[in-house]
């Protein structure tokens, strides 16, 4: 069980501030979604939480600052599923998943490592492709393999950077269902950077909405999603309805300027796009 606390997290490149004063907490067994427009700092925050980027402020794992932690200790506690991840040249699926055992094992691969990899592959239903070349897989299959790698890492915190962005709807649901079950079953914490507001509402316990590197709002999706919020953050006119007890965003139109505004209205069969 783990508690994650972000306190005054800031990150800047020499040319720009990317994250400013980000504060939030996640408890065990919780999934937190990071949402926001492109360039709002979601992926940067994920990278800061895995110390790929070194932020200012502090990120505490059960009270211990991850920026002060040993690299291998951190890898035992925090696992990352990258966006569109790749594997090494000519690596099989099994070898790719086996990489997740690196923080736990020495040079020699133990029976326990092999067993855990086989377990993870079988659990995600990709055991039959264990010896296939990773590069020959489809996007959805690759994402499953990377998830299996993170499972083998046995982390307490799982970071997922837009894990469903390149997947069809079936694979999107599959990946997020698996993450949901894992988090609840192992009492892990998961932070998922994502674009799909409706998938986010369905699979997360809480949401952190970023805009221009700052937290715009945070809370449960049902409280967070309002037409005004969507308009202000994304510049999109939308209605929010409730489907199966979850908020569901139906975008109407973006804010379009110039002569395209009239063309869009014609396409939609209305006289004027609502303000």
């Amino acid at each position: 069980m783990v508690n994650v606390d972000l306190k005054d997290v800031c990150f800047s490149y020499p040319s720009a501030d990317i994250l400013q004063d980000v504060n939030f907490s996640i408890g065990p067994g919780e999934i937190t979604g990071l949402i926001g427009p492109n360039g709002s700092g979601k992926s940067t925050l994920i990278k800061c939480m895995d110390t790929i980027l070194k932020p200012r402020g502090s990120i505490l794992l059960n009270g211990k600052d991850i920026l002060m932690m040993d690299r291998v200790d951190l890898a035992k506690n925090v696992g990352l599923v990258p966006q569109n991840g790749s594997s090494a040249m000519d690596s099989t699926v099994f070898e790719t998943v086996l990489m997740g055992r690196r923080p736990h094992s020495a040079w020699r691969i133990s029976e326990e490592d092999i067993n855990k990899v086989a377990d993870a592959l079988e659990r995600l239903g990709i055991g039959d492709m264990a010896m296939r070349d990773f590069s020959s897989l489809s996007g959805g299959q690759k994402q499953m393999v990377l998830l299996a790698r993170a499972i083998c890492q046995e982390p307490e915190v799982l970071l997922l950077d837009e894990p469903t962005s390149a997947l069809d709807i079936r694979h999107q649901l599959e990946v997020l269902e698996i993450v949901n079950h894992l988090v609840k079953e192992k009492n892990m914490s998961a932070i998922i950077a994502m674009h799909d507001l409706n998938l986010g509402a369905r699979y997360t316990d809480s949401m952190v909405m970023l805009r221009e590197g700052k937290i715009f709002s945070a809370g449960k999706p049902i409280d967070l999603y309002t037409p005004d919020m969507i308009k202000e953050v994304y510049g999109v006119t939308a209605v929010v309805i409730t489907v199966l007890g979850k908020p569901h965003v139906v975008p109407i139109s973006p804010v379009i300027y110039g002569h395209f505004k009239q063309k869009s209205a014609q396409t939609m069969g209305i006289e004027e796009i609502p303000a």
């Binding site: 890898a75 990352l80 040249m89 070898e95 990489m99 923080p103 067993n115 086989a118 079988e122």
Partner: protein, 362 residues
């Protein structure tokens, strides 16, 4: 996870099936390494039997055994002198140099995540060529008979440090290292051309011959030097092999899995440069072995560097020994530069494997 599988005989069966399949693949890798090792031993016999004084394979192996185990009491013969004083040093040099180049290629391709990376790509070979040119044409004699060798070695090593420094200032990404290497390569090639322009016809001929690559300088003394560098470098690189494999998946993934990416990249690059510099210093520029050995190995046993590195060493050794044997016998008594033969022998074999592999994918 295992709790979920309890009571499910199908799951257990499938889990065991996956494990068995992995172990089968593992056994195949070991079989490959063993087969190539045996192949080298056979090729050593064949190579030692060929030459102006023909010997049978039995004579060769008996003489080698007699030299290794003097207690066997095998009689001294002409064959013993030919094999131990002339042919074996050259054979050993070819194997050690081929192994060093194969490992250097595997490391560079892994660290730089670029299948075309090899000592040439980073300008290491160009630096050695420049050092040798300066020694031959500039008449540098500080190190006596080892002037060319040491000049080539020092130049190659300094070039690596310069490339590393430039790349570090730009963030040490594989792309930065390759760009810095290519820039350095063009600069050093220009210096080499300039020194050749200033040299006499004999000096230029010496430089060109050196640049074609040859293991003809082999003596037990030179073999020992190259061997010591190889034996100091290769075990460390095998020790770091699993980190290198993971780094092939990207720096961020490697960092996330607990690897000190910059540290591993720096140390492995330095060892790869040491291996290349030692070979190039003694034997000149031998192309293709460093590029193709890791590819051949990966095509057969996959991308796990714990096997690719020793495999590349063995394939590099067999490739260079095979090429040198053909080079010194095909137009005997004329001995062709081994660099020409490595390409002539290696390319068809590489293309054969490449086409076979493609067929499997299609």
């Amino acid at each position: 996870m295992s709790q979920i599988n309890k009571g499910s005989s199908y799951s257990n069966y499938q889990n065991q099936g996956i494990q068995a399949e992995f172990k089968h693949h593992h056994a195949r890798k070991i079989l490959f390494l063993s087969s190539v090792s045996v192949g080298i031993l056979l090729l050593v016999g064949i190579a030692a039997s060929l030459g102006s004084y023909d010997l049978t394979l039995t004579e060769v192996y008996t003489t080698i055994l007699g030299g290794i185990f003097p207690g066997l009491g095998l009689p001294e013969s002409v064959a013993s002198v030919i094999i131990w004083e002339i042919r074996l040093p050259r054979i050993a040099m070819a194997i050690v140099c081929g192994a060093s180049l194969g490992v250097a290629g595997a490391i560079l391709q892994g660290v730089l995540r670029n299948p075309l990376a090899e000592p040439f790509t980073l300008g290491i070979s160009s630096a050695a060529a420049m050092g040798a040119s300066l020694a031959i044409i500039g008449g540098i004699k500080f190190f006596g008979s080892y002037s060319v060798v040491l000049n080539a070695f020092i130049s190659a090593f300094i070039a690596t440090l310069v490339i590393y420094s430039i790349a570090k200032s730009k963030g040490m990404t594989p792309e930065a290292i390759i760009l810095a290497g290519i820039a350095i390569m063009f600069l050093l090639d220009a210096v080499t051309s300039f020194t050749q322009y200033l040299g006499t016809a004999e000096q230029v001929q010496a430089v060109v011959f050196w640049m074609m690559g040859s293991v003809s300088v082999a003596s037990w003394e030179t073999v020992l030097i190259v061997f010591i560098i190889a034996i100091l470098s290769i075990p460390y690189l095998i020790y770091k092999a699993s980190d290198l494999t993971i780094m092939g998946a990207g720096d961020e993934t490697a960092h996330s899995l607990g690897i000190n990416v910059e540290g591993v990249r720096m140390r492995t690059l330095i060892f790869a440069a040491l291996l290349t510099a030692s070979v190039t210093a003694f034997c000149g520029i031998i192309g293709f072995v460093g590029l193709v050995s890791p590819h051949i190995t990966r095509m057969i046993i996959g991308g796990d560097n714990r096997y690719v590195i020793p495999g590349s060493a063995l394939v590099g050794g067999i490739l260079l020994l095979g090429a040198d044997t053909v080079a010194r016998t095909i137009l005997a008594p004329m001995i062709l530069p081994v660099g020409i033969m490595t390409a002539l022998v290696g390319v068809p074999f590489f293309m054969f494997l490449f086409m076979r592999k493609r067929k499997e994918i299609w």
